[in-house]
Symmetry: C2
DNA sequence: TTATATGCAAAGGCTTTGCAAATGT
DNA sequence: ACATTTGCAAAGCCTTTGCATATAA
């Protein structure tokens, strides 16, 4: 079974379980969302669907994205101010976090097993049952550094403001 | 010099440097913002100021919060969907990250020097110049666990959706 | 005096919602 | 047949902005 087939099945099962319907729109949205291989927002997905000449309303896109997140087929992030970003959920695949370049807005994925473990240690120290986490490192990528972007310039563009 | 005096001075210097004015409103907003010892949003600060019978418009609160962030007197976070949270900046104090309880919404601060160092390692691996970062661990606090809140229930309430 | 700030209300950007018509089961 | 969905436009929410008036320097 290909990954897409698995995702389609997962969505079907999810909908059936809840007595919801598998509509054309929902299927088209799932397939397009899962095909994008970077982060996207609702508006972008809506445009992609239109350019595929699918006539789906923005409201339906929003409603379906929420379902896909509930079905664990998409993850959400809030890197950019003002709107939610989505990405295909990584089933079985290792969890990853993000490095975000303040110069060019590119997003890179990283995974550090040591950090993952240390988070468990922190949770234990606080008597917390860890459910999930988000971890973003903001900075300047190599390319932008070479193009002369400095940390100071970048700091001004960071949407996060926290003393390090 | 008390902490508040330092903050007042920092704000004054910041404004002077930029040729901006130290108005009554700005001073009142600074003093109230810095006095709250948890995270707050613009609306909450606005209400606090009103209850102090200060007549300050919401627009001025937003405008001044932006200045306070620029002056490094406040940090911003985006734990909650839909609005920005502010907190007094930790000058000199160690940087901290957050544990957020999905049961009761309380926010706890943690600091892990090991994680801080590992982030540098990650940044280096990607040829990144790290500017800052955010790191939130979502879970169920001890108190909520004892009151029967399970990870599953909590997952449904998480505003972050990322496979671990 | 004069550039900057304030307050108000209106506008913005993203997302959600109410409702009649359409559709999956 | 019937409950669920869709599309549309309107409304919601947080935040920003334009403009006339007020105020700090």
């Amino acid at each position: 079974m290909t990954r897409l087939e698995e995702e389609r099945k997962r969505f079907q099962d999810f909908l059936r379980e809840r007595g919801l319907k598998l509509t054309q729109q929902r299927l088209q949205i799932l397939e397009r969302a899962v095909e994008v291989d970077e982060h996207f927002n609702a508006e972008e997905l809506f445009e992609l669907l239109r350019s595929d000449s699918h006539r789906i309303s923005k409201a339906t896109v929003y409603r379906t994205l929420a379902l896909l997140v509930e079905a664990d087929l998409l993850d959400t992030h809030d890197f950019e101010r003002g709107h939610t970003l989505y990405e295909r959920a990584a089933h079985g695949t290792a969890h990853h976090d993000h490095l975000i370049c303040l110069g060019c807005d590119r997003v890179f994925e990283f995974h550090s097993e040591e950090i993952e473990l240390l988070q468990e240690v922190v949770a234990k120290r606080f008597d917390f049952l860890m459910v999930n986490h988000t971890h973003q490192i903001y900075g300047v990528c190599g390319r932008c550094q070479r193009q002369g972007v400095t940390a100071e310039q970048a700091t001004g563009r960071s949407r996060v403001r926290s003393s390090l």
